[in-house]
């Protein structure tokens, strides 16, 4: 939990810089209360809610990765699910084909995703706008097709028996939803902190420059292609982490986790959350997972409502929830 402490520390440091003491106290309460709630959630809620929270966090990691591309760099990809799938297949193949333990297969999977993302990113970033969207889509369809066709991935049946981490040295069993919750929480906090760091770094500000005005970034002397590939790689690794968590959560991976629709869902979460903020993807993921859950209770026609929901968000809610709240505050002040 030390990473979490760092985040809280960083935020309260920021609040301390605020001249008004009252707002400092409010800010601290705003930060501390949710943190306590998140930490205590498995103890104070139902198992159903714990499972929902796990799903939200996994979706949040996925959306954070996509946001690094879509929100920070301004590159709209419709293919990030390929890295989600690669993450799951990586540890799946590692466990069931190669017989590797997770402490080898997880870093190896992420490294492989990184290397692949360099190549794929190098091709995709030669284009921009809708062409970028189409080529990322094509790449994901390529992997989707491969996952269905290859014997290694067990075709469209997918692979089951994906291992969860062995926490017996702590006397814990990660098959227990509560234990798994804290595992996912730790990974999520780490992943989001890394993404946050990247966005706030000098590298991240170049990505923002590319989003705002690519020609200007070039004129400033930046080799924008390299930065775009860098963003693509980091985003893809984050999506891979989400894929590993997802596969461990369901003990299962199949080609559907690389589907076009899943990539779209990730983009939708980013849009809901408001593309520019770090907290946006997490909020977007929460809203999305809850709405999806709600819909599945009400109707079996998930796809239709997903589509309608998607259209409405894009048409009327472009700044996302965070954006809407921000503009509300801007109007007031």
């Amino acid at each position: 939990m030390s990473t979490e402490a760092t985040i809280v520390g960083a935020v309260s440091e920021r609040a301390a810089a605020d001249p008004v003491k009252q707002s400092q106290r409010v800010a601290r309460a705003v930060i501390v209360a949710p943190v306590l709630m998140v930490l205590a959630l498995p103890w104070i809620s139902t198992p159903y809610l714990t499972i929902l929270a796990i799903e939200i966090m996994i979706a949040g990691v996925f959306a954070s990765g996509i946001n690094l591309l879509v929100g920070t760099t301004g590159l709209v990809s419709l293919g990030q699910a390929m890295f989600l799938g690669l993450g799951g297949y990586g540890i799946g193949i590692g466990a069931s084909v190669l017989g590797l333990p997770l402490w080898i297969s997880v870093p190896a999977t992420l490294a492989l995703i990184g290397v692949l993302a360099v190549g794929i990113g190098a091709v995709c970033t030669r284009t921009r706008g809708v062409e970028f969207l189409l080529i990322t889509l094509a790449f994901s369809q390529l992997f989707y097709g491969a996952a269905i066709k290859l014997r290694l991935t067990n075709g469209s049946d997918g692979m089951s028996g994906i291992p969860r981490p062995d926490l017996s040295f702590l006397g814990l069993n990660s098959d227990n939803p509560m234990v798994f919750y804290y595992y996912v929480l730790a990974v999520t906090v780490l992943a989001v902190a890394v993404v946050w760091r990247v966005v706030e770094s000098p590298f991240g500000s170049v990505l923002a420059a590319i989003r705002e005005n690519e020609r200007r970034a070039v004129a400033m002397g930046y080799s924008v292609d390299r930065y775009k590939i860098g963003a693509f790689v980091l985003a893809s690794i984050a999506c891979g982490v989400a894929g590993i968590l997802q596969a461990q959560y369901t003990y299962f991976i199949n080609p559907d986790s690389m589907s076009w629709q899943l990539s779209g869902e990730g983009v939708l979460m980013v849009i809901i959350g408001g593309a520019t903020a770090v907290t946006g993807p997490l909020i977007g993921a929460a809203v999305f997972v809850l709405v999806k859950q709600g819909l599945s209770v009400l109707t079996t026609e998930y796809m239709m409502f997903f589509g309608i929901f998607f259209m409405l968000v894009v048409a009327f809610f472009r700044g996302g929830i965070v954006g809407a709240v921000q503009s509300l505050f801007e109007k007031k002040s």
Binding site: V76, L78, V123, C124, R126, T127, G129, V130, E131, L133, L134, I135, L137, A138, F139, Q141, L142, F143, Y144, G145, A146, I148, K149, E214, R215, V218, V224, W260, Q261, G264, V267, I271, E301, Y302, M303, M304, F305, F306, G307, I308, F309, F310, M311, L312, V313, V314, A315, R318
Partner: protein
């Protein structure tokens, strides 16, 4: 050799089917700068209309004529009432519009599933075309030849409209300079909506035409639209002639890989696309010369 010839014809038939979709997508992108990800929805819509009309009238031919009507109306309304106003309000860039149509693609597939269920449907092949034709020593289904004929007819027809008629000239001018066409006194919004509707109708036509061959189900449009995207990118976004040649390339690649390399069937066309993007990011037939 027999197999090879059959696959060439199959490839040609698939090419023409994809071309019917790609040409509308290209037209819409070239003219309005909108990447219509929902194009596959019109394919589905056309196919289901065809199924319903064929079931009601018992005639394939009335399905062929009436099937594309609903896609036209929906496409026309979508452009005039949704996409155009959003673009004008400056709320959405062309990327946002692409994402909006992405939602529409899934909404349509979901709605069709809701109305018709997830069962498979089909239109029976019309009696006139149900036989086989002997061609170059092959016995080839007449209906597939009919599809090739329709595709070629549309290609020739569009080519004529574009190169020889006033409407075509206006459209070509619109691609180059939208303001210019407005200055000519053409109601550009309605013109755009008509073109959008026409593109949708061609996709719907493809849906009806495909119905006797492929199974009609709610997600059929999602499956084929990605292949169409490959065509429009390989052909160069917005390039009409390019989309015809690219349809041939993609259709042939698909048919040949199905016959000779079934392991790569699912992703041969994507590998093709990626190869093209590495060599020529602007597409094989695209215009060169965009400064970074």
């Amino acid at each position: 050799m027999q197999l090879f010839l059959t696959q060439i014809l199959n490839g040609l038939q698939l090419s023409m089917l994809v071309f019917l979709l790609a040409v509308g997508l290209t037209l819409i992108f070239g003219l309005m700068n909108i990447l219509n990800l929902a194009h596959g929805a019109f394919f589905t819509l056309g196919a289901y209309c065809g199924v319903a009309i064929a079931a009601a009238t018992g005639s394939y031919w009335s399905a062929l004529v009436m099937g594309p009507v609903l896609p036209f109306v929906v496409g026309f309304a979508l452009q005039l009432l949704v996409l155009q106003p959003l673009a004008e309000r400056g709320r959405s860039t062309h990327l946002d519009l692409a994402l909006l149509t992405f939602g529409l693609l899934f909404a349509t597939a979901g709605a069709v599933e809701w109305l018709y269920g997830s069962a498979f449907h089909a239109i029976p092949t019309p009696a006139l075309l149900s036989g086989h034709v002997s061609l170059l020593g092959l016995s080839y289904p007449a209906y597939r030849l009919f599809i090739i004929g329709i595709g070629l007819a549309v290609a020739v027809g569009l080519n004529f409209i574009f190169d020889r008629t006033l409407i075509g000239a206006t459209l070509r001018a619109g691609v180059d300079d939208r303001a210019m066409v407005t200055a000519l006194g053409v109601n550009i919004n309605v013109l755009f909506a008509v073109v959008f509707g026409l593109g949708a109708a061609l996709a719907g036509l493809a849906g009806v035409v495909a119905a006797p061959l492929m199974s009609v189900y709610s997600q059929m449009g999602i499956a084929i639209v990605v292949e169409t995207f490959v065509v429009v990118v390989v052909g160069g976004l917005g390039n009409l002639k390019g989309s015809f040649y690219a349809s041939l390339i993609v259709g042939m690649t698909d048919a040949m890989s199905q016959a000779y390399l079934p392991e790569v069937e699912m992703f041969a066309v994507y590998a093709l696309l990626i190869g093209v993007m590495i060599v020529r990011p602007q597409g094989l037939f695209g215009r060169v010369g965009r400064v970074a």
